[in-house]
């Protein structure tokens, strides 16, 4: 549970701040999971709903979709570090 290295030993933080950071990390993971569910549903699931189970094509697609989503997550993180130095998204 540590995409971005939060919680990785920052001795100057108070208890409240550490819990808030842990909460923010949990929110990030939950948010990522929800987006993963939505995106892979959109990419892989047949919307005809002829049956309630997942067929072989859907199951394979889902497994690869999750792997590719994680790889995209890592790449975007690298790009944000590269381009996003001193980036200010509109609020000062």
């Amino acid at each position: 549970m540590s995409f971005l290295g939060f919680g990785g030993g920052q001795p100057q933080l108070s208890s409240t701040q550490k819990i808030q950071a842990a909460e923010a990390e949990l929110d990030l993971i939950t948010d990522m999971f929800n987006k993963l569910v939505d995106n892979c549903h959109q990419k892989c699931i047949n919307k005809q709903y002829n049956e309630g189970g997942l067929d072989k094509t859907e199951s394979n697609c889902l497994d690869r979709c999750v792997a590719k989503y994680f790889e995209t997550n890592v790449k975007v993180g690298e790009n944000m570090q590269q381009f996003g130095q001193g980036f200010q998204p509109g609020r000062q």
């Binding site: 550490k18 929110d27 199951s59």
Partner: protein, 87 residues
């Protein structure tokens, strides 16, 4: 989370439990929205037709299975990633 001491972990646990209830509710209302959106398109009647009912049932069953499978893969990837980071 290994840098939280045990008192901090207890407090964090409370936060987690509160969020789990909210997550479940969000799952529920997203499921309703998705299956309504995909299955219900006839508004000449105010009752679901048999065809719509069957679609809603398969849609929600499929979504739960989908969500479960994605959850398993998510945990595996997450564990692999944590290992790569040397934890």
């Amino acid at each position: 989370m290994d840098t939280l001491n045990s008192k901090e972990q207890q407090e964090f646990q409370k936060v987690v439990e509160q969020k789990q209830m909210k997550d479940f509710m969000r799952l529920y209302s997203n499921l309703v929205e998705r299956c309504f959106s995909d299955c219900v398109n006839d508004f000449t009647s105010s009752k679901l037709s048999n065809k719509e009912l069957s679609c809603v049932q398969k849609c929600s069953e499929k979504f739960l299975k989908h969500s479960e499978r994605v959850g398993q893969r998510f945990q595996e990837q997450n564990a692999a990633m944590a290992q790569n980071l040397g934890r």
